[in-house]
Symmetry: C2
Subunit: 265 residues, 2 copies
Amino acid sequence: MKKPLILVTNDDGITAPGIRALVEAAQLMGDVLIVAPDSPQSGMGHAITINAPIRLHPSRAFEGLNAYECSGTPVDCVKLAVKVLLKGRQPDLCVSGINHGSNASINIIYSGTLSAAMEASLEGIPSIGFSLLDYAYDADFEPAKYFALQIMQYVLKQSMPYGNLLNVNIPRRPLEAIQGIKLCRQADARWVEEFVEAEDPRGQKYYWLTGRFENNDLAPDTDLWALEQGYVSVVPSMHDLTNYKALEMMRGLEYMQSSPQIAAV
Amino acid sequence: MKKPLILVTNDDGITAPGIRALVEAAQLMGDVLIVAPDSPQSGMGHAITINAPIRLHPSRAFEGLNAYECSGTPVDCVKLAVKVLLKGRQPDLCVSGINHGSNASINIIYSGTLSAAMEASLEGIPSIGFSLLDYAYDADFEPAKYFALQIMQYVLKQSMPYGNLLNVNIPRRPLEAIQGIKLCRQADARWVEEFVEAEDPRGQKYYWLTGRFENNDLAPDTDLWALEQGYVSVVPSMHDLTNYKALEMMRGLEYMQSSPQIAAV
């Protein structure tokens, strides 16, 4: 049997411990191609580099493995892997992470880790973003690695609907304290943000983003609920942002363009 | 009657002609606060600045108006406007654009213009992203301005469901050739990308992203279809990326964690 080809990327950069854990899991399943940012890219969302050149170099971060570091964003990494390195050949799976810190709920929107996975799904590659609820550099990735392996195995065997990606978050618990895997919807939580205002050494004012997470969506079908109960949360996700419920509610907009008072404003 | 407060931002930067057109339309409807990037931020997606300070300065780009330029991303602009400049007071509306170039279909995912609008919607502010299907710096923004005014008026009068934003694209046609407004879903189109490979003046290889847009989703309820027919397309959009259809299909994942062959891999 031909081994599957697994593309591995992340947003914390190629030297982060999280991607090392994911590569170790992926190696057990197939051949691995690693293309990851040469510096941390957290919070980059679905950014792409269109107004500047991108560099791509072989990396020594993983001995004996096919690894590249890229000056671009996580989304750029996926594009370069498929178009330049694989010359259009599709990997059988793309995995991103393991992110240092949660990407549950609306964090999927800000996350470079998940945007890389979404980019792969847009290209028709089954893809999974993994995140551990622990920001520490020396976090214990072993339980996350165990579940990453299981979920990769499932996806490689069962495949996924076209354009689908999985947003997987792993609670910060020892393996034996994790309750299992829960399929969930994205909780409708919010960041409540503040900016720290300060002065730089030259006396110029600057702002620095800070914030805390606030969840008013406590329903038991959400990822945040599952994580709180000690489950690994899996949210099947996609790129269609259409608000189908609002589509009918706003139909009135189609009938206003000939309204005479508008021309008079 | 108290005038509504309208926050205006974009991703092409505060000096772009497109934001000028949008400000002129917004001024007819209410009081305007402009907070826009100090340089072009196209393709930034939902990026936020978390590892660096952000600068915010009063701008002279709009004489007599309350305008600020910001060193951060479009999403940063919205956050700073609400948290720092308005000290938590909610604007009645946030508008972003008018973007130089289309943000129809999956471009919403890559677009700084639309990500700014989504950030506002996450904060509970009704919001609209406007884009004109013309990349030219000296494009004619008058027809787009006319429809921006109509749609802003509708949203201020009718309000919108919580967390909703509108992705509005305007075809490149004279006003009299535009057929009206169409409510649509996001077309499931794709970028087919290539990288130009070249060498810099020091002989170092680089890659530069290029691509063409390919649409295999020609259904008449899509934004791309509406635009082709000469309509202004309006896609009500939101931040929930859950793939509800896939949720049930993948339920098997929940039952595999005790599978013995996994531990054996």
